[in-house]
């Protein structure tokens, strides 16, 4: 069977991409039946890109993001990050990889409710061995970067949705990961706040941050450099 959904890095072996997604597939077991969340996906991401993965809910785009984030073992295929096959690593090595290389902005922020904004942002540094003072400085720097310098001591539920999103972004970038993943970053926000968040992501991208964003909202895609359309577990690259 000839596959024509893909035009990708596999045909250009001399070009090294930041991330290569090769023949990825993911099946789920639903009782007796096997459900294919991802049939086959092939694409690549280059350093410094701002890519949108777009599709309806249930299209497999969030599954793809969690596979990219090293959180979800694919059934088939492989993910190469700087030519490193990340699912060949042990789960502890993959945890280290997430800590160093990948920042994630979750759909519903996923802040820890009993920790202050500052503590939430410091969380990813807790396992890096940085000195307490250095952690404090970096967390405050990144909070200032997202415009929340004066809310460091609040608890998450004392903030608006847009502000919580900013905390989530701050936490995702505090370790300066080369890759930032965002799952529907504008999903829970009104359109004005959503625009502000997209502006912030675009600024981060123009400073060199590679961003991969999953969304079903065409509005959110107008800032991105490339769109990968996902439908029924397959993708096409524009």
């Amino acid at each position: 069977m000839k596959d024509n959904t893909m035009h990708n890095s596999a045909i250009e072996p001399n070009v090294q991409h930041l991330i290569e997604i090769q023949n990825i597939g993911k099946d789920y077991q639903d009782g007796e039946a096997t459900v294919q969340a991802i049939k086959q996906m092939d694409f690549y991401i280059d350093d410094g890109e701002f890519v949108a993965i777009m599709g309806q809910s249930g299209s497999g785009k969030s599954t793809m993001l969690s596979i990219l984030g090293g959180l979800n073992h694919p059934t088939r295929g492989r993910i190469l990050l700087d030519a490193l096959d990340i699912y060949k690593l042990s789960s502890e090595q993959r945890a280290d990889l997430r800590s160093e290389y990948i920042g994630v902005i979750f759909q519903s922020f996923q802040l820890i409710p009993y920790l202050t904004v500052l503590e939430n942002v410091k969380l990813p540094m807790a396992i890096t061995g940085k000195k307490a003072r250095e952690q404090d400085r970096m967390a405050r720097d990144v909070l200032a970067r997202v415009g929340l310098a004066n809310k460091a001591d609040r608890l998450p539920d004392q903030l608006s949705g847009g502000e919580q999103e900013r905390v989530a972004i701050a936490r995702a970038i505090v370790n300066k990961p080369p890759i930032l993943l965002a799952d529907e970053p504008t999903g829970n926000l009104d359109s004005k706040t959503a625009d502000e968040i997209m502006e912030l992501l675009k600024e981060l991208n123009s400073e060199g941050q590679t961003i991969i964003m999953v969304t079903h909202n065409p509005e959110a895609c107008k800032h991105t450099s490339r769109i990968i359309q996902v439908k029924d577990g397959s993708c096409s690259v524009n």
């Binding site: 969030s62 959180l71 800590s99 994630v104 979750f106 759909q107 969380l123 990813p124 936490r171 370790n175």
Partner: protein, 107 residues
């Protein structure tokens, strides 16, 4: 500790997603168990002595409180911490093995 682990599945998922190793999650749960054991042991020791002091006149006539037995207190604390740790081993193990993507539902 088992209940605490179940309640905090999502939280553990977040920890794992931002790069905490299984070992880190184990550490968090066991450290918490140690603190609970220490505080529980201390309260138990003090509470027990308090009750003994208050109840003594009701049981025996004309006798005075025997005073704190510190070595007994030390043993009680150690036992309490040890028990708490032992009881937490399985939940901690279970917590560290949670699949991060499942713990977070969609990512």
């Amino acid at each position: 500790m088992m209940g605490s682990v179940n309640e905090r599945t999502r939280e553990i998922g977040i920890f794992r997603a931002i790069g905490f190793r299984r070992g880190h999650v184990m550490q968090i749960i066991l450290l918490e168990a140690m603190v609970v054991g220490l505080v529980g042991g201390l309260l138990g020791y003090l509470g027990g002595n308090g009750i003994a002091w208050a109840a003594l006149p009701l049981v025996v006539k004309s006798s005075s409180f025997a005073g704190f037995n510190y070595s007994l207190g030390g043993v009680a604390l150690l036992l309490s911490v040890a028990l708490s740790l032992i009881a937490s081993l399985y939940p901690a193990q279970k917590a560290s093995k949670l699949d991060p993507s499942e713990a977070l539902r969609a990512l």
